[in-house]
């Protein structure tokens, strides 16, 4: 029994005591194979998953190292079954290999004949395999490369892909390091990706994922397809590529709802690629439009399901995934692993801290009590109407107005889901409003105005959810949200609460994030999920009653 900072639980979670003197060292040691699940203030929770262990295998760690790490940092005895399981799981990776055979093309090979026999008998993979070439080799049709990898992962025998990649159409791309240089970890990330072939680079928000993408493109020197979450993000990618590489405006194309350009480097949005008309995807041609040498996926953890299917057919092309977290709300981490590739790089935690990953943000949930009349309306309403009713209660308007007055002079965003509510608020606050219907030009104008400080208050709908950098926002007030994924919620908050540059006195501004919820309704239930997620991400969190808001103490937080 030692006095280590780590507690290994039998349910395969690892508890790391943050304040322990060995905590940083331990964190570094377990990061390659354990996924960070929660990071509240005192104890961080990591989890051992097969994928995490396979990622570690792909990165060259072996089971002995993992077991040794667990044993040396663990405070208490480590359950033996867990150690056995770790060794067993890790030994499964790489027993099967996808290889290029000189005469038969793509083959599945193994030195472990029983495993191969087991796999050949599995129903899930039966249709994907061709003739048995010899005892250890089976032919695979090239078009099934992705599907086969997916299926093998599902039956627990992930294959290592040695089949190589096509070079794609060459296109000169250079990094233009004028006045800036690639940070060490960015260079390392690009390099590990390139040597691994395909895979995911995990970097925290603001750590310069775009630059890693650019560095990878400079390595590939080939035509590149970049898939991003939305149009605004596409523009940011374009700006960044123009600034950081030798690429010119003419070489970069945008493929989105409004513009459809295909150039040597094309940036497309997930939305346009996954648009379905009459049961078919009309924009699939994009993938075959050029002989792409590299495909970059931004925000892999948000990759929609249809793109996975399309990616399955692109296994011969190099794929780079960029993300801040491998955890997906829909549990499709396995598809990321098998179709995009294993984790190739993970930023050292120290750097993450230096980047201010946990922003000094003050999250406050304001609970308003519904008047009896509204409560009665709510109580008797149809279940599907309930959230809208609860979220759009007129009580909230007054609270918003109070908050806006209190933070007068600080750039403030009011975010909501329902247009009527936003209309009402915009009118009450006398502020400009951006919704899905606002023309892109007008949107850009308003965002720019907000960034430059001309506009101090903006009412926005969910269009602001993704990939819009508004680092100047100091106060955000959320009146209603999309009641689905808390991951999406957190994404929104993360975007808005980017830590700004330190002020002249060296102190970072403290962002205030208010969420206004109706007490005793589904609104409050959703808020609870959000609260949990934020707390797990390490944000400070408070709940106050709308009536107590006037008290001066709440203001000083």
């Amino acid at each position: 029994m030692s006095d280590g900072p780590l507690i290994v639980q039998s349910d395969k979670s690892l508890l790391l005591e943050v304040d322990h003197e060995q905590a940083a060292e331990c964190r570094k040691a377990i990061a390659p194979f354990a996924e960070l699940e929660r990071s509240p203030e005192h104890i961080h929770t990591y989890r051992l998953t097969p994928l995490g262990l396979w990622n570690a295998r792909a990165a060259g760690h072996d089971a002995e190292q993992v077991v040794d790490t667990l044993l040396s940092y663990s405070r208490y005895p480590v359950p033996h079954a867990l150690l056995v399981d770790v060794a067993e799981t890790m030994s499964r990776y790489g027993r099967l290999r996808l290889e290029k055979h000189p005469t038969h093309g793509l083959v599945l090979a193994s030195n472990d004949r029983p495993v191969l026999e087991e796999v050949l008998r599995a129903k899930k993979v039966a249709g994907m395999l061709g003739n048995r070439l010899d005892d250890d080799t089976v032919a695979v049709h090239p078009s099934e490369r992705g599907n086969l990898k997916q299926a093998l992962l599902k039956i627990g025998w992930p294959a290592e892909d040695y089949a190589g990649y096509v070079d794609g159409e060459a296109h000169p791309i250079e990094l233009a390091e004028d006045g800036w240089t690639l940070r060490t970890y960015q260079a390392e990330a690009a390099e590990s990706f390139w040597h691994g072939g395909s895979g995911v680079v995990v970097l925290p928000c603001g750590a310069g994922k775009t630059i890693v993408g650019a560095a990878a493109m400079a390595e590939a020197r080939a035509t590149t397809l970049i898939l991003v979450t939305n149009t605004v993000s596409a523009r940011q990618w374009k700006d960044e590529l123009l600034r950081r590489t030798s690429l010119t405006e003419d070489e970069i194309g945008e493929y989105s709802g409004t513009v459809k350009e295909i150039r040597p480097v094309t940036i497309a949005t997930y939305q346009v690629v996954t648009t379905k008309r009459k049961g078919v995807y009309p924009h699939l041609e994009l993938f075959d439009a050029r002989d792409w040498g590299l495909i970059v996926y931004d925000e892999v953890h948000l990759l929609p399901a249809p793109i996975f299917r399309m990616t399955a057919d692109l296994q011969a092309r190099r794929r780079l995934g960029l993300t801040a977290t491998l955890v997906r709300e829909d549990g499709r981490e396995g598809d990321v692993f098998s179709l995009i590739g294993p984790k190739r790089y993970d930023a050292p935690w120290k750097d993450i801290e230096a980047q201010g990953w946990i922003a000094p943000a003050d999250c406050i949930e304001v609970r308003v009590s519904l008047p009896d009349a509204s409560r009665m309306a709510y109580a008797t309403s149809e279940p599907e109407e309930r959230y809208r009713l609860a979220a759009c209660t007129p009580e909230k308007v007054k609270v918003v107005r109070d908050l806006v007055t209190r933070h007068a002079g600080q750039p403030t965003l009011v975010i909501g889901q329902y247009l009527e509510q936003l209309d009402e608020l915009a009118e009450a606050l006398d502020a400009p409003m951006i919704t899905g219907q606002t023309p892109v030009k007008e949107r850009q104008r308003l965002f720019n105005g907000f960034r430059s400080g001309e506009i101090g208050l903006l009412v926005v709908s969910k269009v602001a959810n993704f990939s819009i950098d508004l680092p100047s926002a100091e106060v955000a007030i959320q009146v209603s949200g999309s009641f689905g994924s808390r991951q999406e919620e957190a994404q929104r908050l993360g975007r808005l609460l980017r830590p700004g540059e330190p002020g002249p006195d060296g102190e970072r501004k403290i962002a205030h994030f208010y969420t206004i919820v109706s007490r005793d309704t589904v609104d409050a239930e959703f808020a609870q999920n959000r609260q949990r997620f934020l707390a797990e991400q390490g944000y400070a969190y408070r709940i106050v009653d709308a009536d107590d808001l006037g008290a001066p103490s709440a203001d000083q937080a």
Partner: protein, 715 residues
């Protein structure tokens, strides 16, 4: 007697059995000769002989050391059971030198046949071989062996069977019963393991099994597990248990079985009368013990248990899967297998455990040497014992833990284990995501109270609790006040209590008890508030159990029909309201009773006749009985214990007796015989006056026909 001999033989090692076998071959001998017969260290032979005599498997007769006569027949099995396959020596054995001469002169075919017969148990069927030829006339190798008296008839009781006398076998094997040393026990393949790994694995498993047992029983205490009709635990229940404990089904079965063996669970009837498994009173005592002692209770129960949890889920002979807790799921050899596994592991050097791969087979071989005679399922039992010991934390990475060593020695393992267990912690860390992490085993009292206010989310060495509205409400339900919850959380937490938790508690308390529920049998409602007020205050309404819930509603504890009558007595005019709010009125129906069943009319004459018939039957039966008793022949004088014991005595002494017996024709006669074996009601005996090698001199007598036994000769 045969059983007790078998039992005694079962407890011998292969080496000891080999010594006994040599004694049987020798027939009658002394220690110094026996030492030369057994291929082993003389000291081992001498020690073994002492033990055999102590066990009464051999005895010092006046003529020399002898095995008990039945022992020879009980020595079954092959070489692995210590049986050399040699026959007992003849009464007058030929000298070894003479035999070797004869054997050396044998042609190769005959020699090969002889070797083959000796290796195959020293007996052979005579087949077509002729008996009684001179060596010159022998035509086949078999006839040659017979002519040389290397193969002799095995006796009249086994016609056609030839045997190689023991002295021939001994001569062939160079004067010893076996060709290899018998006192060398197989070595257990062991290899050293790092103490950090094994200690961690063992203590980790031990804490896990204690925790899971507690967790299981707490769970069954609130949600009893349905028992099968055979009192077993069904597949579905086991699966649910495994899911709840987050372990595999075999491991869950082991936890359940061990808890049952420790007397921590039992069956009772649930509210519907179906049998269910629930914790026993003993569990409450167990729960209050320190973890090390809890483990000791479980480990001791396991060690003494014949249960086979490892079979759960496998299919039995009837193709039905075995269920946990089924009474038949036990093997009497299991406790011994466990004890021997621990003993062998304890015999390994400190820090060494079973080698990977070869360790288990070598352990099985070693235990087969220690107890070669039974049971046939030994390899399975040993493998299960090893696997279960690992789950229980007796071993870690197949190395016996220090406290496991203490347990194997019969000492109290609790203090040893307690020193290895992490000390309990008295605080938790409460975080803003409403979790409380206990960074180690919590003090039991704190843990119990925390479990009332928060749900357990992750278990292990540490415990993660989560506060939810439901868990806080549960605490309020069980009588906590808001202030108490706040105070408890503040006292238990080593870090400041996060604001959202404080808010959560207050918020739950705010809505707690907003709805109130009570019991009433009927209600009275009226738009006329005054009428209700008057009713409540009526001097004669006290018996109605009225309670005013609202100005227009009263409830009563009386049932509807009674209340209606009373209210009418009070001069009011109530009407009945149906569940749909509609008034029900109507004429009451007159009361009716059920028509009584008509009885059979009594008839004096018939009952008198019936009575007479009864008596007549009874008398006839008694008379018949008397008649039967008279006509039955007087029972023959049963062969008393005297006859049997006299015969057995003579067999042990190898003395002659005079027996009086009645033959098939009823003729009573006497014979002087030397009894050989008593078995299955038959005495096998040899006529005392017969020639030494006359195979027809052995005869069988039915013991019950022997009327008397008189020792003759030496007696």
């Amino acid at each position: 007697m045969r059983n007790s001999i078998a039992r005694a033989l079962d407890s011998l090692t292969r080496g000891e059995l080999s010594v006994l076998d040599a004694l049987v071959v020798a027939g009658q001998t002394n220690e110094s000769e026996l030492v030369t017969l057994v291929d082993a260290d003389p000291a081992f032979v001498v020690a073994t002989v002492r033990r055999l005599v102590d066990l009464a498997l051999a005895w010092e007769s006046p003529e020399g050391l002898r095995p008990l006569s039945v022992v020879g027949d009980s020595m079954v099995g092959g070489v692995e059971a210590g049986v050399s396959g040699l026959r007992p020596r003849s009464a007058q054995p030929r000298p070894a030198a003479e035999l070797l001469e004869v054997i050396a002169a044998l042609p190769s075919g005959a020699r090969a046949l002889l070797d083959h017969v000796v290796d195959g148990g020293s007996t052979a069927k005579s087949g077509a071989a002729r008996i009684g030829l001179r060596p010159e006339d022998a035509e086949t190798p078999a006839e040659l062996l017979i002519a040389h008296r290397l193969l002799v008839p095995a006796g009249s009781l086994q016609p056609g069977l030839l045997a190689v006398p023991g002295e021939v076998g001994l001569a062939l094997r160079g004067g010893r019963t076996t060709t290899a040393p018998v006192d060398v026990a197989p070595v257990v393949a062991a290899e050293p393991r790092s103490a950090r790994l094994t200690g961690s694995a063992a203590v980790g498993a031990a804490t896990d099994v204690v925790r899971r047992t507690g967790q299981l029983l707490e769970w069954w205490g609130t949600r009893p597990a349905a028992a099968l009709r055979t009192t077993g635990l069904g597949v579905r229940e086991l699966r649910a248990t495994a899911a709840h404990l987050q372990v595999s089904e075999p491991e869950a079965a082991l936890v359940v079985e061990v808890a049952a063996e420790a007397g921590l669970i039992g069956t009772r009837a649930d509210t519907d009368g179906n049998p269910v498994w629930v914790p026993t009173d003993e569990f409450d005592r167990w729960r209050d013990l320190p973890p090390a002692e809890q483990w000791t209770v479980l480990a001791r129960a396991w060690l003494a248990s014949p249960r086979l949890p490892s079979l759960v889920g496998e299919r039995g002979p009837d193709q039905k899967p075995w269920n946990a807790l089924t009474p038949e799921l036990a093997a009497s050899g299991m406790p011994e297998a466990k004890a021997m596994v621990l003993a062998v592991l304890a015999g390994l050097p400190e820090g060494e455990g079973l080698a990977a791969g070869t360790g288990l087979p070598s352990l099985v071989a070693r235990i087969a040497w220690e107890r070669p005679r039974r049971p046939r399922t030994r390899p399975d039992l040993v493998a299960w014992a090893v696997a279960e010991a690992a789950v229980l934390g007796l071993t870690g990475a197949d190395v016996l833990s220090p406290y496991g060593r203490a347990l194997a020695r019969g000492e109290d393992p609790a203090p040893v284990l307690a020193a290895l267990l992490p000390p309990p912690v008295d605080h938790v860390l409460i975080q803003a995501d409403l979790t409380a992490v206990a960074p180690g085993p919590l003090e039991p009292d704190l843990a119990r109270r925390l479990q009332q206010v928060a749900d357990v989310e992750s278990q292990g060495a540490a415990t993660v609790y989560r506060f939810t509205p439901a868990s806080v409400r549960r605490a309020l339900d069980s009588g906590w006040t808001t202030a108490e919850v706040h105070a408890f959380v503040l006292a238990a937490s080593r870090t400041p209590v996060p604001q959202p938790l404080t808010y959560l508690v207050d918020d739950v308390a705010r809505s707690f008890g907003r709805l109130r529920v009570g019991a009433a049998t009927s209600f009275i409602r009226s738009e006329d508030e005054v009428a209700l007020a008057e009713l409540v205050n009526h001097p004669r309404s006290a018996g109605l159990g009225l309670q005013r819930l609202a100005p227009t509603v009263l409830v009563s504890s009386l049932p509807l029909d009674l209340l209606l009558a009373r209210l009418r007595e009070l001069g009011t005019a109530p009407v009945v309201e149906g569940p749909d709010g509609v008034v029900r009125v109507g004429a009451t129906e007159g009361l009716r009773a059920r028509t009584p069943r008509t009885r059979e009319t009594t008839d004096a004459a018939r009952s008198a006749a019936r009575q007479a018939a009864h008596i007549a039957t009874a008398v006839r039966t008694v008379r018949q009985g008397d008649e039967d008793a008279r006509s039955r022949p007087a029972s023959a004088s049963a062969p008393g214990g005297g006859v049997l014991s006299a015969l057995r005595d003579a067999i042990e002494r190898r003395g002659a007796v005079l027996i009086g017996f009645t033959d098939n024709q009823g003729v009573v006669s006497e014979r002087s015989v030397q009894p050989l074996v008593v078995e299955g009601g038959q005495l096998t005996a040899r006529d005392t006056d017969a020639e030494a090698d006359d195979p027809d001199a052995e005869r069988r007598y039915a013991v019950h026909r022997i009327t008397r036994v008189v020792p003759v000769g030496s007696a």
